[in-house]
């Protein structure tokens, strides 16, 4: 068996280790941190590296001899560090840093304990920093004198070497602390989820990651996900969490970029000088400025115009920007969360989104699943909505069992699309609650709501598209239709619908070729062009009319 060596590093204490007079044997009756450390019956120091200054040569000699006397197992090395002023932070840190850099640490075979009981407070701080940053790959060692008077313990009449404790800076190793951390994590995650006991494993894992990132990083976060997946709610919760835990003390400023239009877009975000453009009556600080030391949530960031994208990038990188019409940069140090429901990569491809801005905000990207992808969370969300409603409206609404089962069965069905995600679910609960007689949602309300939801999801253009294509069936057999590319079918259907609204072939031709005919210098024959087109499908104006 290979036994690891225990190596202690520490300063020789000029007061406590000297214990008054060096030459006097009474020193053995006193608690001397460095010597006592080597006197524990259940703790062997295999090697001790002692730091001292030139002025304390006699002291280090006595300490070395005393350790050898009482602890023959211990190898003693004394290092004179080039510290001129033991109270000067830079001086001490440099001295210890140089020692640590030059020391041949062998953590595979040796355990290092950094004794922080001796030395000036400055020395103790430096040792802590070096250990914490792993320049010294060890743990801290703290020793304390025996309780009772003058180096005696009550139980034993003999001088005791006191007590010591090893402080591992890996806080997760302490059971009680670990429990606390776990509780705190849970609390934070719970907070991000609005206290909803979500069951979706993907979603919970996502929240766990977001919690870590939200608390440890101030870099931009990108939340992707369909409308209604809860991006803006999550952004607000991240802000509140940072407010509680990270001392974020600015404002939460929220903007949906899809609402920005024209001149006012830049001004809304970056502010303007009075008179910068027509209608700019007063100075306006802009949302970036408002979010200084706070958090800015830009939803639908993909809708941001090209100029605004460039300005935002600069603001992120330099923490300053130029308000519209101003040549004086404005400062703002804000944290950014961006939301998007579309794949920004595609927007980059089509030239609608800046590559460099995307790289800047794509550091922490989280994809929020749609409600359809986390149907197991529907039940907890319904409970949450009902509880919220009870809290804000002051009366409780509940489902009867049958109604609840009916609604959940519908909600969890694979072909229930939940196109509006949580927005739809919340609206459904709100409507059912409002309509429920005496606060009781019955099967009747549920059935009505299901019809309503399905009607909502029936997009009008989808319905039209279906009807619009029906005309093909009027004129052609299934056999014939199947020979036409699906790509060509709508064109034909549209042509047919225009012909049916036109009195003559020429009128229909003018409508259908309205753009190209303008460019032609010669008088175009639209009717002929249309006739030939129809002939390809075996159709004629007359047949269609």
């Amino acid at each position: 068996m290979i036994t690891r060596k225990r190596v202690v590093l520490g300063f020789i204490g000029t007061n406590l280790d000297a214990a008054g007079s060096l030459s006097q044997p009474e020193r053995w009756e006193s608690w001397r941190p460095t010597v006592s450390l080597c006197q524990h019956p259940d703790f062997v120091v295999d090697r001790i590296e002692l730091f001292t200054e030139k002025a304390h040569r006699a002291l280090s000699k006595t300490i070395t001899e005393d350790i050898r006397t009482t602890s023959p197992e211990t190898e003693v090395h004394v290092h004179v560090l080039g510290i001129r002023d033991p109270w000067d932070f830079q001086d001490v840190y440099e001295g210890l840093f140089d020692f640590a850099s030059g020391y041949d640490f062998d953590p595979e075979r040796e355990d290092y304990l950094v004794h922080i009981t001796t030395g000036t407070h400055v020395a103790q701080i430096c040792l802590f920093l070096l250990t914490e940053s792993r320049r010294i790959p060890g743990q801290l060692l703290q020793s304390e004198p025996p309780r009772g008077r003058k180096g005696q313990t009550r139980s034993s009449k003999h001088p005791s070497p006191g007590k010591f404790s090893i402080i591992d800076l890996d806080l997760a190793r302490y059971d009680r602390l670990a429990t606390r951390f776990a509780a705190e994590h849970e609390q934070a995650q719970d907070f991000l989820k609005d206290g909803i006991a979500t069951k979706s494993a993907t979603f919970n894992l996502l929240i766990e990651k977001i919690e870590t990132v939200a608390l440890r990083s101030t870099e931009p976060i990108l939340l992707m996900g369909p409308t209604g997946a809860g991006k803006s709610r999550l952004a607000a919760r991240i802000f509140e969490l940072r407010q509680q835990r990270c001392g974020l003390n600015g404002n939460f400023v929220e903007l949906n970029c899809a609402t920005l239009r024209g001149d006012t877009a830049a001004s809304m975000l970056f502010g303007h000088k009075r008179g910068a453009f027509t209608g700019a009556q007063n100075d306006r600080p802009g949302l970036l400025r408002e979010a200084d030391k706070g958090l800015l949530f830009l939803d639908e960031i993909g809708e941001l115009g090209a100029d605004e994208q460039a300005m935002l990038l600069r603001a992120l990188e330099e923490k300053s920007f130029l308000p519209v019409g101003s040549d004086k940069p404005m400062h703002s140090d804000f944290q950014l969360i961006a939301g998007t429901n579309r794949d920004l990569r595609k927007s980059i491809g089509s030239g609608n989104f800046r590559d460099d801005l995307f790289s800047r905000i794509n550091l922490w990207t989280f994809d929020l699943p749609s409600l359809a992808d986390r149907r197991e969370d529907i039940a907890p969300n319904i409970e949450y909505e009902l509880a919220e409603r009870a809290r804000t409206h002051g009366h409780t609404v509940t489902f009867n069992k049958e109604a609840r089962d009916r609604f959940l069965t519908f909600a969890k069905k694979v072909d229930t699309p939940w196109l509006g995600n949580f927005r739809d679910l919340n609206a459904a609960v709100t409507r059912m609650s409002a309509l429920a007689p005496r606060g009781r949602i019955r099967v009747q309300e549920v059935e009505e709501e299901i019809t309503r939801l399905q009607a909502n999801w029936q997009r009008p253009d989808e319905a039209n598209r279906a009807n619009f294509m029906d005309c093909l069936n009027d004129l052609l057999t299934e056999q014939q239709i199947s020979t036409i590319d699906p790509f060509d079918r709508p064109q034909l259907a549209y042509t047919i619908s225009v012909i049916r609204e036109s009195r003559t072939l020429s009128e229909a031709g003018r409508k259908l070729f309205a753009v190209s005919r303008e460019k032609k210098s010669k008088r175009p024959n639209d009717a002929d062009r249309l006739r030939k087109y129809l002939a390809k499908f075996g159709l004629s104006f007359e047949a269609i009319r």
Binding site: C38, Q39, H40, P72
Partner: protein
């Protein structure tokens, strides 16, 4: 393998040392569990580990669990070899205890040994060098042992730094049985105070107090010696010794911080007064220490005071290793008789 199993729950370091001694002389391996089970810090402390390592070294043996704080140990000796050995005990652990643990094995080795032991030489809770050389060793010499023990430097707790030099000649033919049933005539009475870095006046006062108590008990003391010795740390030991024709008894008390010289002196004096009063031949501590050598001799008996729990535990352990029978019985006059005989 049918290994001896020893439960350390009720024992201390002595149970471990005696087990090591017995294992070394018999060649019998043993396993011990719950080492120093009821101590505040159970398991092997540094001084015990030094003893285990020394036993390994002189016997070429091996051990499992020979690490600090271990509460389980398996020890298997090979052949004990005499030679020049040196062991240092940290935390001013007792060199005298280590000497007693190794001595039986070295006596039975084929080669002579010199043993230099460094650490404490005068520790409370352990026999002192004076006790070994004046009480314990003379009995062993009577039993045929050729041993010398020299104090090179005093070592007191907690500094230590003391040193013993021991010479051990092979005891060919083994130890001889001994009977100690009568003290014989008193030859020498002595009060001795040994001090290091303690004013002479303290020692003189302590000596005078012991003298006072013992004179009142009808003891004509020839002399009080107050010795001032050099040592790393401070120390103060008060001894009262009665050398009789057959045996020597020495009672000892230690000066400690927070304990008055007067109390130290009284402790040493009262212990001697008890010994005188019972009329026992062998004092309580010596009885404990002689059990093992007499058991090795195979037979012997002595009269002593009421045995301590320590002695009873020790006797039980010895009978686990050796084919001897140890009888401890109270006599009519309040003395106790310890008889060792070959088991039937």
């Amino acid at each position: 393998m049918n290994m001896l199993k020893i439960d350390g729950q009720d024992g201390g370091g002595q149970l471990l040392r005696t087990s090591l001694s017995l294992s070394l002389v018999t060649g019998e391996p043993f396993s011990m569990t719950a080492i120093r089970g009821q101590r505040a810090k159970p398991g092997l402390m540094r001084q015990h580990l030094t003893a285990v390592n020394a036993a390994i070294e002189i016997s070429g043996g091996s051990a499992d669990g020979a690490v600090l704080g271990s509460t389980e140990l398996v020890f298997a000796p090979q052949r004990v070899k005499g030679g020049d050995y040196r062991f240092s005990i940290g935390t001013a652990g007792s060199t005298c205890l280590l000497y007693q643990a190794l001595l039986p094995a070295l006596l039975l080795a084929n080669e002579p040994s010199t043993l230099r032991l460094e650490g404490g030489t005068h520790n409370p809770m352990a026999p002192t060098f004076d006790f070994l050389s004046e009480c314990f060793l003379p009995v062993l010499q009577k039993m045929g042992a050729d041993v010398e023990l020299e104090l090179e430097r005093y070592g007191f707790y907690p500094a230590g730094g003391g040193s013993l030099l021991a010479k051990v000649e092979p005891c060919t033919g083994g130890l001889k049985p001994i009977e100690l049933l009568d003290r014989g005539k008193p030859l020498r009475r002595e009060i001795r105070v040994i001090s290091a870095h303690v004013p002479d006046s303290v020692g003189e006062r302590e000596g005078a107090i012991v003298l006072g108590v013992l004179e009142a008990a009808g003891w004509g003391v020839e002399g009080v010696s107050v010795r001032s010795v050099d040592s790393a740390g401070a120390g103060n030991v008060v001894c009262a010794a009665l050398q009789s024709e057959q045996v020597c008894e020495m009672t000892i008390a230690f000066g400690e911080r927070g304990k008055s010289g007067k109390r130290v002196a009284h402790d040493a004096a009262k212990a001697m007064r008890d010994y005188l009063g019972t009329g026992a031949v062998v004092g309580r501590r010596l009885a404990d220490q002689l059990l093992l050598p007499i058991a090795l001799a195979g037979a012997g008996e002595f009269l002593t005071m009421k045995p301590s729990k320590h002695t009873l535990t020790n006797a039980a352990l010895i009978q686990q290793f050796l084919d001897v029978k140890i009888d401890i019985s109270e006599q009519e006059d309040g003395q106790w008789k310890v008889s060792v005989s070959p088991s039937a």
